[in-house]
Subunit: 174 residues, 2 copies
Amino acid sequence: MISQTLEYALRAVVTIAQHEGHPCTAKQIAEITQVPAPYLSKLMQRLVRAGVVHSQRGLHGGFVLAEEPCELTIWKVVDAVEPFQRIHECPLGIKSHDSTLCPLHRRLDRAMEMVQELFCSTTIADVLAEPGAVTPLCQEKKTFMINANIKSLKHSAEESGKKKTKKKRTPAAE
Amino acid sequence: MISQTLEYALRAVVTIAQHEGHPCTAKQIAEITQVPAPYLSKLMQRLVRAGVVHSQRGLHGGFVLAEEPCELTIWKVVDAVEPFQRIHECPLGIKSHDSTLCPLHRRLDRAMEMVQELFCSTTIADVLAEPGAVTPLCQEKKTFMINANIKSLKHSAEESGKKKTKKKRTPAAE
DNA sequence: GTCATTTAGGATAAGTTGATCTTGAACTCC
DNA sequence: GGAGTTCAAGATCAACTTATCCTAAATGAC
């Protein structure tokens, strides 16, 4: 229900927010978020074009958030990578349903509306600040996280042998 | 966010419920729901295997609901055609996150949980009974609907020249 | 200016979903 | 049992999503 690409984008944005102050390179983000590097690269381009992040080429370049984490909602990221298809008119083309959707489509749209509301009311800062929680996306505890990540990146980036995990998406768990 | 196939399945189930008492053929359902007939046929097979509807071959055969509309929830249909992927463990494989998801994944899962709750609490009967509403999926007012549909089907089925509309899915509206 | 670094963009491939077609099997009616 | 009706199943195709690769363009350090 939540696409792979959207999940990737959110991971990336959270990662950049965690390293506020200096840009993250696509390679760094890819390692932390465990997203295939070439694909992440494309995805970052989308985020740049949508104005969610800014990019900077060259040495010490990378990506930074275009907004403060407390201003950037999950919704904005969703909207950037794959705009939600709210149901605004009858999918069957029944004209009389365009003003008032039929009960079925009203409910489907209501479901999407609820998700939209939740996403609109959640900022990246909210995700980072979650009290008592484990750190988003990373093993370490909150305080140590940033330095730990940066250091481990510096190292692992050197030899980054491409480890093809080839993990097949589990088709159903529920 | 809600897949084409799921939408088709719900249209089909609602249509069958609207014609309770006698089976609907795949052809009839396809016309009413405006779903490509061969595809609907495959989809109905899935619903049969999942136990949402029963099928009957031969003259006067077709599909009927396996449960009363007031017992059949939208959720059961969802679960039959494409089981929701709730997030039960950390998608990044971080072991310490499996018991308590990180804030990001917790929120994504929460969004899905909300939708699940809404779908679980809505039955097909609810959809049909919506007060004051237009009839699900069809132009006519509630009382006239059933006969009108059946009759118009009898006619249009005769000459049903395959009209290739080839309507491209509108990529984004929101 | 040159070089290492880093993003941008195009072309392409693999995998999944959406859609079609054809044949076979079950059922009703006569 | 034969004819007409209707679902079942397999093979196939098209479109979209996910993923990869390679080359170009921008940037900063020297």
